[in-house]
Point group: C2
Chain length 243, copies 2
């Protein structure tokens, strides 16, 4: 059995998210439809990050198994010809049979974009926020979460997981091209984690939540201790790392 | 009479262009509708660059006259609350009565974005082009047009103008974040000029038109000598300069 790794970019605005849902258009469904048309058999894909409704990707990784002899370059071209214009295949490569986009991943990197002025051109990809923000305090929060910690306070309550520990390798806020950008790399992410972290850190940055409370929110280990989730539209799955 | 200068950003995708048209949604119409609702009188606006259908702006300048006493900050907020989400007002300021967004402008800067891979996120703002391009040859073309020249070969034939001379202050191609970007600043632009220049220079960059022919195209002084116009979606009016 051949195993094919696809790297994807998508504009999540008009999707119900990565995963197939009964009630709307998913990235997985569009991808599997195109793959089935080319490979002429039923398709199941696995994605590194099951992005929520409205979340974008510039480096989602997916794998698919097939016995068809199609060459990666031909599959790449055909995919981009068949897919709708809000999904693009960036690369296609053959990988060892044991490779699994989700379980083989050792880390993922997400980015969140905040705009501090009215936006028209980038409106689908940025959370417009007119507060002035203290990047110093937001970076204190970011520094606090680096390392292995329990992130239950930043996880949607309905999530079914064994434990809430994540190893955060990098987290920081920067200002770039008039935007405020959060970068985070971790071995795993809980459901809703980046958006809950961003919403809570923004509360600190705008002076609504004192920095000392951020510490209390982490140790509380319950979602209602943290701030509101930031909107999906500012979030991108940027990159997935493998050994 | 007070004179108000507005700086605008817009996503031109779903507009028939700047100018009011009988057959579609124009930026001017949306802007005048919002202004009329706030200022409670009939409105006529003047824009620095009458962008074509599908062309975007990140620094369009418009002026409007009124006798109403509204302060610029209040007008700014109200405008952004009323305008559709593909137009944003970046700034509002009071200017001397003789200021005219179009006739007072001494230069405009446009940018054109080409993407050399499949794109989903930026698909509304980039011309996707899978040719490999020689930036060296394209920059030779760019250097050739700097200074005062006759641009009739790059002007739509129906344009009603006295003469075709433009003073190009800057023109260059760069590679940035995986995109190929053309930057041009001139005292004036003829109708369709940037898109005709980009289309023609791309023909040189991909080896379809020899560089020597670029010289012949300029001196021909007729539109059919030049290459096809590049699509509107990659073009942005970036900035307008005043003394």
């Amino acid at each position: 059995m051949r195993n094919i790794k696809l790297t994807l970019e998508y504009d999540g605005t008009d999707f119900v998210g990565w995963q197939v849902q009964p009630n709307g258009r998913s990235v997985q469904e569009e991808l599997e439809k195109a793959l089935a048309q080319i490979l002429q058999h039923e398709i199941t894909t696995y994605a590194a990050g099951r992005t929520d409704s409205g979340v974008h990707a510039r480096g989602q990784v997916v794998n698919v198994k097939t016995q068809k002899a199609i060459v990666p370059e031909a599959l790449h071209k055909s995919m981009n010809a068949l897919l709708p214009d809000d999904v693009a295949v960036l690369s296609v490569e053959e990988v060892p049979e044991h490779f699994h986009a989700r379980y083989s991943a050792v880390a993922r990197r997400y980015r969140y974009f905040i705009g501090q002025r009215p936006l028209a051109v980038m409106r689908r990809f940025v959370w417009p926020l007119q507060y002035s923000l203290s990047l110093k305090w937001m970076n204190s929060c970011a520094a606090r979460i680096v390392g292995e910690h329990d992130f239950q306070s930043f996880c949607k309550v309905e999530a079914e997981v064994d434990h809430y520990r994540c190893m955060v390798k990098h987290a920081s806020w920067i200002q770039k091209d008039g935007l405020v950008v959060f970068d985070i790399t971790a071995n795993r992410f809980l459901h809703g984690m980046v958006r809950a972290l961003v919403g809570t850190m923004v509360d600190v940055g705008r002076g609504y939540t004192p920095y000392e409370d951020f510490e209390r929110i982490i140790v509380a280990r319950e979602r209602r201790a943290a701030g509101m989730a930031a909107p999906a539209k500012g979030l991108f799955l940027e990159e997935v790392f493998y050994d």
